[in-house]
């Protein structure tokens, strides 16, 4: 099994979610993160002094899937999450050694 982590622009979340579901994946977990990268932050102003806010709100999507699904998943996400503008984000894939469904105790690919 593999874990795919996609860091995307927040307003793309709904589209990405739909794309993932279309592939038959049944679950995912998201979190609010902040990104730093080539896309620069913006300048804010407070009581006469400026300061740079480097970190930009992003959404991280984590999905664990069977090995064979990972390529299709990457392609699907990359396609819908792109706006062509800097800051669209990244996809990372890491290995998963075990999975358990807490409710039933099912293990492995059955659990995801």
């Amino acid at each position: 099994m593999k874990k795919l982590e996609a860091i995307i622009k927040p307003h793309k979340l709904d589209e990405v979610k739909d794309a993932i579901m279309e592939l038959g994946v049944q679950g995912m977990t998201i979190s609010e993160v902040k990104g730093f990268g080539r896309q620069k932050g913006h300048t804010e102003l407070y009581r006469g002094a400026e300061y740079v806010v480097d970190f930009i709100p992003k959404v991280k999507i984590e999905v664990v899937v069977k090995d064979e699904d990972i390529t299709r998943l990457i392609t699907a996400i990359q396609k819908v999450a792109t706006t062509g503008k800097i800051g669209d984000g990244k996809i990372f894939v890491t290995p998963v050694e075990a999975a358990v469904r807490i409710r039933t105790g099912e293990k492995g690919e059955a659990a995801i």
């Binding site: 927040p10 307003h11 979340l13 609010e32 913006h42 300048t43 804010e44 102003l45 407070y46 400026e50 709100p57 959404v59």
Partner: protein
């Protein structure tokens, strides 16, 4: 002879203090009327906080600073605009269309607090109240500020800050005072027997029409209406703020309506305070029930709109109808507002805070309600009776005429001004700014830097 002289002097001795007390009595009355009017004005001023809270609460956190700033600055602009020329246009002696005497800087002659016949000056149409000129002006000023503020919520989350400020200036310097003159400044609608006690039309509908024009020129927020025509609700970010705002407005209305007597007339102000309150309460109940039945659950934003709808609706008739009638008028307003919110969504008019449903639709309803429920001299004013109290259609038709003329004028002029601003400087922020939030774009600030935001509704 001696005796007679004695008598005469006794007579005079008594007469002089008598006159003197009479003068003092008059002074006391002026003082009390002024105290009442000023305190009412403070309450109306306080409505600015109410609008600021309701509107920010019902919009997203990323636009909070912008909405707050708009509501804050717009009152400052309204104050200056009304001081410079608005007051003169509205209350200056002049034609049936607008005032022209003492136009600039409240600069006309004036012997207030002299009243009625005794009054000599440029602002005769408001000489029915016996308080100092500045008290009259201050009370009317806070009303003018309210009208401007109504627009703010309707165009929120997408309008350019500067364009909005300019529109507000035009509204308070020109548009509001002209229609205001028609009704409260002795203009042609006043002459025609049109009655609007505290401003369902003068203030609320006018704000509503200007807002409608703005919405049409601006278009809806990104994401509000899907391609398939589906309505995507964009939830407001802080229901505590919105509810506090509604309660502030409710409190403020106890200045708005009872204060419009501009005199501490006990029977009148008690009556008006009560009709105002009962209409609001009835509207809350019916809005709750309507929402519960139609939508499944009583959504708090509907309760808030319900309360405000009842208050707007009773604003015109508060002094002309019985307490029983006020309950009915409010109850109907509570139903209307829920239907109106759903209706505007359906025809793809995107009004983030429900300003149209509250101020425009119920401003109209309240004005017409005078024509239905008025009871001649129920408190002090000889309005004639409305349709339901044996007065026939006459009053109703005059009210209808006023609603239409004020609406046509304000809406048309509103379209022109908004249109001109659009051509000259743009009125809408860029798509990117709208997505990121106007707070950073327009002000370089964010409202809540210490809290992690949720992307649930970005």
């Amino acid at each position: 002879m001696k005796k007679n002289i004695f008598l005469l002097s006794a007579f005079l001795a008594l007469l002089i203090p008598g006159l003197c007390w009479s003068q003092e009595l008059g002074d006391l009355k002026v003082a009390m009327d002024t105290v009442w009017t000023l305190i009412a004005a403070f309450l109306v001023f306080w409505m600015n906080a109410g609008f600021a809270m309701v509107e920010s609460g019902l919009c997203r956190s990323k636009n909070t600073v912008n909405i707050l700033a708009k509501n804050f600055v717009v009152f400052a602009i309204a104050s200056l605009a009304f001081y410079v020329v608005g007051w003169g246009i509205m209350f200056g002696n002049g034609s049936g269309f607008m005032g022209s005497d003492g136009l600039w800087l409240i600069g006309g002659a004036d012997n207030s607090p002299a009243m009625g016949e005794a009054y000599q000056g440029s602002y005769s149409s408001i000489s029915w109240t016996g308080i100092p000129l500045y008290a009259k002006f201050f009370f009317q000023l806070v009303f003018a500020g309210t009208a401007a503020t109504i627009v703010s919520g309707a165009v929120a989350e997408r309008i350019k800050f500067l364009s909005f400020l300019i529109f507000s200036f035009v509204l308070v310097a020109l548009m509001y005072p002209i229609t205001g003159h028609w009704i409260w400044g002795g203009g042609f609608l006043a002459t025609a027997g049109f009655w609007d006690f505290a401003g369902s039309t003068v203030v609320h509908s006018v704000g509503g029409w200007a807002a409608l024009a703005g919405i049409l020129v601006l278009g809806p927020r990104i994401g509000k209406f899907g391609k398939d025509g589906k309505v995507t609700p964009i939830p407001g970010h802080n229901m505590g703020m919105a509810t506090l705002g509604a309660l502030i407005l409710w409190l403020g209305w106890f200045g708005f309506n009872p204060g419009s007597t501009m005199a501490a007339a006990p029977i009148d102000i008690a009556h008006i305070a009560l009709t105002t309150n009962m209409a609001c309460c009835a509207a809350i109940i019916t809005a709750t029930i309507t929402a519960w039945l139609m939508l499944g659950k009583p959504d708090i934003s509907m309760l808030i709109n319900g309360a405000l709808a009842g208050l707007v609706a009773i604003t015109a008739p508060c002094a002309f109808v019985s307490v029983g009638s006020s309950v009915v008028i409010g109850a109907i307003a509570g139903v209307i507002v829920v239907l109106a919110v759903i209706f505007f969504d359906k025809i793809k008019i995107d009004d983030p805070v429900g300003a149209l449903s509250v101020h425009l639709v119920n401003g109209i309803w309240g004005t017409l309600a005078v024509g239905l429920f008025a009871q001649d001299k129920i408190v002090a004013t000889a309005t004639g009776n409305g349709l339901f109290f044996g007065g026939g259609l006459h009053l109703f038709l005059v009210q209808l005429k006023g609603v239409l003329l004020v609406g046509a004028f304000t809406f048309a002029l509103g379209l022109i001004v908004w249109g001109a601003l659009k051509v000259m400087m743009g009125i809408r922020v860029s798509e990117e700014e709208e997505r990121e939030g106007l707070d950073i774009g327009e002000h370089g600030n964010i409202a809540y830097p210490d809290f992690q935001s949720s992307t649930g509704h970005l």
